[in-house]
Each structure stands twice: as structure tokens, then as C-alpha cells.
Assembly symmetry: C2
Homo-oligomer: 351 residues x 2
């Protein structure tokens, strides 16, 4: 039996979407048990309206407080111990039988609480955040890290490459993920000190398919499966792509509404625009995971509906079933580090 | 008389677009003189076909080599001394009467040559690259820096804010440009060490309107006039926005072509799509300038047509006419630095 916690508050459609998503996931997997955290009375009343499902595989833990998305993460962790999210993190930490946690609440609070409370897979320097975006070629691309760590070394980037590759293999079935280093040019000598030192180290890393540097303009090209980067640039990259998509769709909509002729044209294309919108909706590609955490943490989008929540639970379930953490632990043990690489290069000094 | 050099090679439509753009600019400004660099015979033959214009205000300097956009900048500078770009840079450096240079050639080579050969406005630590993008609100936004300097201090960011503000005031007529610091969250304490140290310094900088941190998703929102950032994150930001726009338009086009019904709809909207395309075309917003160079350097887009080249020349002309360099020199003298700020804060120690 795989046990997963669902933080039922903090999202735009909480707690309705979370409860419905949980029931959908439960129906999908026979060996799944779910624990919901949040206001017990409210959750039970929503559960009562869900028709038939295996009631033995779902339980509720009362946690009346809610963390807002604009609260300072450190304050939220310290002051809202009875929130649905912090109760979920506490349960995850304390109960050895629980495999993972899904939350659509504050990203900052979830990342901070996971880093501080859950611990790391042995050998991992720091867990990192890895969202998935759709590419224009119809596939996906993972980006690691997008904000968990802003001051890093080349050793971090090597671990991101290894963890992200395993994640894409085990959860998305990509056999040999093409890993690229985000840079400001494709040549090996491009970029700042961090990138120039990371490049040769990534070339030496066993078990990954490192294809070199990539520029941000190629993020959605479909030429890469995983982009590794520091959390600052990764955050800029992902939010810039998302923001541009949203702003463009907004402008298109506004322009279409400006003339009847355009509205008529858009009417003929309504099915296409609908598909376009679904395609751009990152909800449909699963949540962002904290790679390298001792237990599985999946962050769903704040605007997640029930189907997106179910997808995040499924993602969490597959990470546990495929033993991602164990795989990461084994692979990390064989990662080169700057120190090991420099020792290998040093001439023998035995007298 | 304002004298400007036009590097006529290295662009996608060189040298035809450069020559035609030069003639257009010449007709626009009576007090403009242009020097064209490149293959003299070819340039003269194109000039001969341009109808009537004031031939006394245009001259040609023979420079037969061309720098390709994939050549390593340092090699290009060292080995292609007779290229149209390096001849232009040499002229700019040596001739006191020449105010600026417009080139649509290799960005890397132009930035490197400007940094190494042209020198800085007194007080400027390092010149920085500042492109302009259209916002979805119909205005523009400048981003400084996008790749000239990847390892920087808070003092650099303060200078970018001052130089960029003056540039937007003098060349684009924005009275009080809203300056934002690119970060991974809007709160003052967000980001890495560089951002946290730069924030209070930007608050103390006289003559700029600092509005705080911004996230990359808001780049095109129209809420900011100038974004200051290190060259690495700035490069990621701009190329990610451009790349996403291009990939989206490509996908839209492909999807429209997939069904006759959509093609019909698009036909009704053809004027809108045309306007959309012109709007997204960054050629229409002028070139990127190297702020803080002792002389004006404008980099036009590689795909520039004649009108875009003329616009870059006009931009260069206005920067000289409005005495941007002199303004920058005066403003930089009043910039706080980390050192001056810490001295102001230190308690008096006079015994």
C-alpha cells in the first residue's frame, strides 16, 4: 500500500478540487491510501457528496489554519503549525509509512518546509525544484532548479542532472533524457565561472546524456528533455516563458474582441483556440517536484482543478512505486565532484 | 554635424539593407554624415542605384573582410582587422569627430570590441548592453544588462539603473522611467546575495524611480520601463521571452494550416495577424545600445531590413544630440556605492 498526504487548502479551488482529485486518484490505484489535511468538518462534508469509493483508504487529519500565498514562508512555518500544509509536512516527517505529499498551496512555504523538515536523500547536497513545461514540439521539458537554491556550485548542477534524468526516466518514460546546461551561448567556454566549471564536470558524469549548453530561446523547442541551472536563472527562465505565453494569449483575445470580423474568424477557429489553451495550461503536465527530498513532495499549481490534483497524486504515487529516491541515492554515489575530478587529474606524487 | 559609421556587413540582408537604411536616415536629418564600411566596389554600386541624395554627406571606407555570426569574438577581433566591423570600431576609436557606430553583425564581436577598444564614460565601471522590447500594453521596456557582464556587484546594478533611466528619458521620451530589479520574488529580502545587497542601494540612488523587485513573468506587462539585472539572468530573460513568442507564433501557424476551416478563419483575421506579427517584430523598436561606452554603439538585429537600419541610425543620432554620455558622466558621479553607503552608515569615530 502506498500512502500519500494531500494538503487540501491554499489553492484557488480548495478544498473542493483537492477532495475530488483525491477520490479520482483513489479510484485509479487499488494500492493507494490517502490522508487529507485541513478543516475536518468541511472535508467530511465534501467527501460525503462523492458517491461510492473505498472509505477505508481515505482519512482526514484536522488542521484548521490556512497559509495564504502571500505569507512570508519562514513566518508561515513558525506561526502556522496547525495549518493544513504544516500538519501535512509534520505527518510526512514523522510517519515512516507515508511516502509523499501533494500540495497546491504557497510554493515558498512548501519549498522552505520541505528543505527544513523532511531531510535529504543520502548524498544529495540540496534538494531542488523541478517543474515540467510542454514544448511546442508536443513533448515536455523539465527545468531543475527553479528557485530552491540561488547560490550554488558545479557539484549542485551535476546532482540536478542526475536526479532530473532519473525522474524523467521513471515518471515520464523518457529513456535517455537529453540534458542541457542553461547558458548565454552554446560554446563550452560561454558564461560565468559557475557554468564554465560545471561544463567539463557534466561531460564526465556517468549515466546522463549531456548535450552541452543551451540558450533560453530554445527552452520550448523540443530539443532538450532537462535543463539544469541555478535557481535564480531557472526561475527567471520558467516565469518568463509562462508570462510571455499568458501575455500573448491576453493580447490575442483583446485584439480578436476589437472587431466583429475577427470575432467571426475566431469562431471558425474556436476548437483550435480551445486546444491551444489546453496545450498552454501547465496544469495538464503535472506538478513540480522537490528532487532529492527524503520523501516525495509534489507542488501542484495554485489554480489546479480536480483533474490536475489527481495527476499530482498519480505523479507522487509513481515516484514512490518506481523507487526514485533509492535510484537517486545510488546514482549520486557515482557523481563526480569538483574535488574528485581535480584529484583524478593530479599527477601521481608517490615518491 | 553628427557623424556616424554604419558597418554594412554581417546582417542577414547586408549590405543592401544597410545602404538603403543609411540613405533613408540621411534624408531624415540634415545635419547627419555617414561613413559606410565594407566592400567599396559593392557599396558604391548599391549607392549608385539610390536616386538623389546628398552625396557629400556619405563616404565609404573599404574593408573587405566579413565577421560571421558564429565566429568566436576574440578570434574575430584578433584575426579580422580588415573586416567591416573592426574597421568601423577602429575609426570610431581614432576619429574624434565620429560620434557613433551602427552594426547588425555579430553581437559577441561587437560587444567585445566595444569593451576592449572604445573605452568608457568617466566613472562607469563597465559598459552594459540594453535592448528594448515591446510590452503587451503597447509601450516598451528596456533591459540592462543582457550579456556584456556576467560577474557583477551591486555597484554595477546601480549604474545600470542610472544609465538606463537617462537613455529612456532622452531617446524614448519617458519622463520618469520605472526601474525594477529582476528577482525571483517581489519582497525586498528575496533572491541571492547580489540582489539583497543591491536593493537598499537602489533605494538610495538619486535621480531614478526605483519601484522594487519584479519577477520575469511581468516583463511584458507594461508595469516597468527598465529592468536591471546581471548579464546572465538578463540574457536568459530576454531570449526566453523572444523564444516563447516565436515558438508560439510558429505553433499557431502550423495549427492553422492543419484544417481548411481554420485557414478560412485566419483569412478573416489576416489583417490582425499581420499587425500582431509587426508588433512582435523587435526590429521595429530600434537596436540594442552599449550604455556607458565613451562613444555610441548601437547593435541592430541581424535580420534588420532597411527601415530597421534607419531606425538604429536615428537612435544613434539622438543619443549624440541629447548628449547622453555627458549626462551619464554627471549622474554617475552622484551614484551611491556599497563603500560610500557603508561609510555613511558608520558611526562617527572622531575622538
Amino acid at each position: 500500500m502506498i500512502r500519500i498526504i494531500v494538503d487540501c487548502y491554499g489553492g484557488d479551488h480548495s478544498p473542493q478540487a483537492q477532495v475530488e482529485g483525491a477520490i479520482a486518484a483513489l479510484r485509479e490505484h487499488d494500492d493507494l491510501c490517502l490522508v487529507l489535511t485541513g478543516d475536518e468538518a468541511e472535508l467530511r462534508s465534501i467527501l460525503d457528496g462523492q458517491g461510492t469509493y473505498d472509505r477505508d483508504r481515505i482519512s482526514v487529519v484536522h488542521a484548521p489554519q490556512v497559509i495564504g500565498c502571500n505569507e512570508k514562508p519562514t513566518d508561515a512555518i513558525r506561526l502556522k503549525k496547525d495549518s493544513s500544509m504544516m500538519s501535512a509536512v509534520r505527518l510526512l516527517r514523522e510517519d515512516d509509512d507515508i511516502a509523499g505529499l501533494v500540495s497546491c498551496g504557497s510554493t515558498g512555504a512548501l519549498v522552505a518546509a520541505s528543505m527544513l523538515r523532511i531531510g535529504r536523500v543520502p548524498g544529495v547536497i540540496r534538494p531542488a525544484f523541478c517543474p515540467i513545461l510542454p514544448t511546442m514540439a508536443g513533448g515536455i521539458v523539465g527545468i531543475c532548479d527553479t528557485g530552491a537554491n540561488v547560490d550554488i556550485t558545479p557539484d549542485h548542477l551535476v546532482q540536478y542532472a542526475v536526479m532530473g534524468s532519473l525522474y524523467l526516466q521513471k515518471v515520464y518514460g523518457i529513456a535517455e533524457p537529453r540534458v542541457a546546461l542553461l547558458n548565454i551561448g552554446v560554446e563550452a567556454e560561454k558564461g560565468d565561472d559557475l557554468r564554465r566549471r560545471a561544463y567539463p564536470l557534466l561531460q564526465q558524469t556517468p549515466g546522463i546524456r549531456f548535450v552541452g549548453n543551451m540558450e533560453s530561446r530554445d527552452l520550448l523547442s523540443g530539443n532538450y528533455d532537462l535543463v539544469v541551472t541555478d535557481g535564480f536563472a531557472g526561475n527567471v527562465l520558467v516565469k518568463s516563458a509562462e508570462g510571455t505565453c499568458l501575455e500573448m494569449l491576453k493580447k490575442l483575445k483583446k485584439d480578436i474582441c476589437s472587431r466583429t470580423l475577427y470575432k467571426l474568424g475566431a469562431l471558425l477557429m474556436s476548437r483550435m483556440f480551445k486546444e491551444e489553451k489546453a496545450f498552454m495550461n501547465y496544469q495538464n503536465y503535472g506538478g513540480s517536484v522537490m528532487l532529492g527530498c527524503a520523501k516525495v513532495v509534489v507542488k501542484g499549481h495554485g489554480s489546479s482543478r480536480a483533474s490536475a490534483v489527481a495527476r499530482c497524486i498519480d505523479q507522487c504515487y509513481r515516484m514512490k512505486r518506481e523507487q526514485l529516491s533509492e535510484g537517486i541515492e545510488q546514482a549520486i554515489a557515482h557523481c563526480p565532484t569538483e574535488q574528485s575530478a581535480s584529484q583524478n587529474e593530479a599527477p601521481a606524487t608517490v615518491g
